[in-house]
Point group: C2
């Protein structure tokens, strides 16, 4: 028989601890702890007695105590880029699904306009408050103060540079852009425009996939009209104005984000240029609003929720295993061409 060193407090001490459970089940705290976290180490009937006591007391482990001793917080940090779009909301849903299924919580941090926020987030990591990090943008990696990728905390990136050796979840950027090119060629287009994103990996890849197919079809890259953009709707409007003012108007334009495509179409519409009769427009991302604009936008749909889910799964594996074969440390997901109203054969 075991004698408890700590008598059960007669006054309601605020919350139920592992000692209370141990008392009720007539075992030591060590056994309670094991029954809960490594059931295999405890005899069947002892385990059941413990679980019974947990139920009766309504015991919930104190997370801070566990984190302190076990040096694991079961919390992941998700870092958002400066501008939060619907696309990221969907990613978040997938991430949360995967994490919560494994009992992990989720701390979010967006960088926004406040640079000092970045330091704060890095500190979260350095303080071991989180077990892993999911980067939804590549910026933080460049931080001067403390480089996240040098701290020994697992990191997973979503949709950012492939040349870095950070495990990543990517989509087939080139293939997606190539599918756009095929689609437009099939419709009979021979002159093309391209609304760029902010410079970087994503823009490079999409441009590469787009031009590769066009080149094979005999279209010179120099013939493609480039309109500068930065992924935002406002920059799509700017691209639209450039299109209107120019005398050299392609019959098909690929904007590498939906918001830009929508802004672009809006500008054209106001100028009396019809989509798709006069110009075909294609976007990229597959956000919900593409089904509500006029005309409905043909676009490349990214499996955003799946991407988030896979990223979180990858992170969990990294946290738990510490080592994963190099060839499984990144995943590439496919995209889908959604053909709607904004593309049609060119008018003659």
């Amino acid at each position: 028989m075991v004698r408890k060193k700590r008598a059960r407090p007669s006054s309601y001490s605020g919350s139920i601890t592992i000692d209370d459970v141990a008392d009720m089940a007539g075992v030591s705290t060590a056994t309670v702890s094991r029954a809960l976290s490594s059931p295999g180490l405890v005899a069947r009937d002892t385990r059941e007695r413990v679980l019974e006591a947990v139920r009766n007391t309504g015991y919930i482990p104190n997370v801070a105590a566990r984190s302190l001793r076990a040096a694991r917080s079961k919390l992941a940090l998700v870092v958002f880029p400066t501008c939060i779009t619907p696309f990221f909301s969907e990613l978040l849903i997938g991430i949360e699904n995967a994490l919560s299924a494994e009992g992990y919580g989720l701390i979010t941090g967006s960088l926004l306009e406040r640079p000092e926020r970045e330091t704060q987030l890095v500190h979260l990591v350095a303080a071991k408050q989180v077990d892993g990090v999911i980067l939804l943008n590549g910026q933080m990696i460049r931080s001067d103060t403390l480089r996240v990728d040098q701290l020994d905390v697992p990191i997973v990136a979503v949709g950012v540079p492939g040349k870095s050796d950070i495990p990543s979840v990517l989509i087939g950027e080139r293939e997606g852009a190539a599918a756009v090119a095929w689609h437009l060629l099939e419709l009979g287009h021979r002159t093309f425009g391209y609304v760029t994103g902010a410079p970087g990996y994503v823009d490079d890849e999409r441009w590469g996939g787009f031009t590769e197919v066009l080149t094979e079809a005999g279209i010179a890259v120099s013939e493609i009209v480039r309109y500068p953009g930065d992924f935002t709707g406002a920059s799509g409007i700017g691209a639209g104005l450039q299109f209107i003012e120019s005398s050299k108007r392609p019959t098909a334009v690929f904007a590498i984000s939906d918001m830009m495509a929508i802004g672009f179409m809006k500008t054209l519409r106001e100028a009396g240029i019809s989509v798709p009769a006069d110009v075909s427009v294609v976007g990229f991302d597959g956000i919900e609003f593409t089904a509500f604009c006029e005309p409905e936008l043909t676009t490349i749909r990214q499996p955003s929720e799946v991407m988030g889910f896979e990223a979180a799964r990858l992170l969990i594996e990294l946290v738990q295993e510490k080592t994963i074969p190099a060839d499984e440390r990144s995943k590439t997901l496919g995209t889908e061409l959604v053909i709607r109203e904004s593309t049609a054969p060119p008018s003659r």
Copy 2:
């Protein structure tokens, strides 16, 4: 002179603790702790010596240890509704700004389709893992398992029922809807339609504000055509179909969410009905897309980022003070009527 009980570990023990800082500054750990969290309690030069040591060692407090002892985690839980819209992303930005400014972190949890997730979140609260909760939807309050509002953790709700005594950040729902009514009356409209939201507080209030003004202007409530909706774009399309099929067509329609207004307009456009020439349409929320649809939508803009910010401020005060005068426990913010292209005088 103080003799440290714990010799400085010669091997790099993984991370720097408060003992290392105390050693370097030649003070006790208690003094280090005080210098950092209640600077007023230590002498000026001692404090500077400690801060210097903190800088030199790169010390970052272990959050788990602090939470355990201080019974505060400096973490807030933000609960999202089942469907995440751009509006909530903006709220989140405001929340994060306010929280991070005070050194608070942010755990997010969305309810989504998984009901068991609700229990998990309630456990987070029960386990004292978070110091406070921001509810972006009213659902969780109804949980059977454990009622969040019965746990003694501060809660702030954003835009949910006022009859509950939970501190809240609200907007002038009635005033906003009234402004819509005034605007449409001023334009000369006399027949009205209303696309409802899912039943509940928000819909009641907006309906109330809308009809009150119309009643005063001599319009019978029974004359207002109600189209059922649930805030989503899809339901706006449904409302549009009903409008088209009906013989009794009002000249102005108020949809109480932007997405519904956008879906509504889309359906009308496809049926050859012109907005605003044939029908004026007004939305509610002020999401970004309202500036990109065709025609640009007249709407009521909610100060979403400010709402998030204020909610977080309120929560921090509750966490720190525990008591706030009843009349300051809720805030109501104003809205703004944004007049754009979707409203015009009725054609005769």
